[in-house]
């Protein structure tokens, strides 16, 4: 996917991206300050917003194969199970009840299939939204902070799932997170946002550990990441 000369104004804010390449089959991390435009870019890709100028080249990707989980996931006024199977239902696919049960169990929500989704705790709601996105095998998945606020076991489970599906299906992932350790554990490429612009975009190692861009350096200073731990991650 290529983003070319994209410009979008919302209120006072302007998102402006001259050129951004989103390689297929990679896990991309978007980082940057609050209000720097990360979610706005995802919405543009998702077609929720339309750009003022410029365009996005989907390169054969069908809009139905793209999905996005939101920072505040929208849950249907229905049970957990109905929420998870919704994207399958509208595709006429038969849901695999057992697999969904297994997913729920793996992230500590065993037996909650029939609970009203909106009565779940907020972390549990995020998990439902993640499982919903995993179940229908989209080719391009955008995760907007849905992995934060989860307990460590669940984070581990979903990270494994993301890596596994990418392996098997070769699909593309795009994550927003303010936890740099998430980003460091998962991403192949990282794109750093600053006030509506992408100030750096490149391989994770380069951006996270060897950046020369002052905004990026300032942003990363908060959390001390260990490059040696990063090296070990693919073992």
């Amino acid at each position: 996917m290529k983003i070319i000369n994209l410009e979008k104004r919302v209120g006072q804010f302007v998102l402006q991206i001259d050129h951004l390449e989103i390689e297929e089959g990679c896990i991309h991390g978007l980082i940057g300050g609050n209000g720097s435009g990360k979610t706005t870019l995802m919405k543009l890709i998702m077609g929720i917003l339309s750009p003022d100028s410029g365009h996005i080249e989907y390169e054969g990707l069908n809009m139905r194969e793209i999905t996005m989980t939101s920072q505040r996931p929208y849950l249907l006024h229905d049970t957990v199970y109905e929420n998870i199977v919704y994207p399958l239902k509208i595709r006429g696919t038969r849901p695999d009840r057992e697999k969904i049960g297994a997913y729920l169990e793996s992230c500590g929500m065993a037996g909650k299939e029939r609970q009203a989704a909106r009565s779940l705790s907020s972390g549990e709601q995020q998990k439902v939204s993640m499982i919903r996105a995993l179940c229908f095998h989209p080719r391009f998945v955008m995760i907007d902070e849905t992995l934060s606020n989860l307990d460590p076991d669940s984070v581990e489970f979903f990270e494994k799932q993301i890596l596994r599906t990418r392996e098997i299906e070769g699909n593309t992932w795009m994550l927003i997170s303010h936890s740099l350790s998430h980003i460091a554990r998962l991403c192949d490429r990282v794109h750093v946002f600053y006030k509506g612009k992408v100030v750096q975009s490149g391989p994770a190692r380069e951006v996270l550990f060897h950046s020369e861009v002052p905004e990026v350096r300032h942003f990363l200073r908060g959390e001390i990441l260990s490059e040696s731990a990063f090296d070990r991650r693919n073992e």
């Binding site: 929720i48 249907l76 994207p87 509208i90 595709r91 009203a116 909106r118 009565s119 907020s122």
Partner: protein, 228 residues
Amino acid sequence: MLKTMIEEIFSDVGVYDAIRVTFRMAVTSTFISAVLGIVLGLALERFSFPGKRVVVRINRTLMGVPPVVVGLIVYMLTMRRGPLGKLELLFTVEGMILAQTIIITPIICGMIYTYGNKTAPAVRVFAKTMGAGKLQTNLLILREMKHEIYFAIVSGFGRSISEVGAVMLVGGNIKGHTRTMTTAISLLKSQGIFTEGLTLGILLLVMAFLLQCLADFFQKESKENENY
């Protein structure tokens, strides 16, 4: 049993027929208005266009259109010399349904628009992320707004069974044909037979209540327990 009892009490206004006509008219016109109102209301919420605010205001003004006026308009349309004269709708239940639909559609449309403003945008965004098509998106909006839609329909139905001005004019209050419970009440009233009119009114309300209990049974308005 009940039928004969009712007939005995209100023998001279043709109550049994009036009940039949009332519910036939109310159910049909509410159904048509619900379909039109929901489609128009959601469309109005969905699309932005110049003059939209004026359209919304006109919609809201039409929610208060006097039934007599609608009655007059429908009369003038459906009379033999009128543009729809060929359809022979005057003094028929179909004509009454037409008038009622004109009255109720703006009400349902206005309510759906107002509720939709709060609910639909988020659902539409969600539907997009799920890859839902246009039809599926709209079905999902209906599903997520089901309580509000049910309420709008109940309101429309209430308006429909209670109306008298338009129905009287277009239907003609013809005994056994176009007499409804409300026009029967009006007639009883004009004859000074107040308690019988009142009894008939209460009968109407009781039946509306029972119908709603029935509808509620399918609707299962479970108290949502959201975790804020």
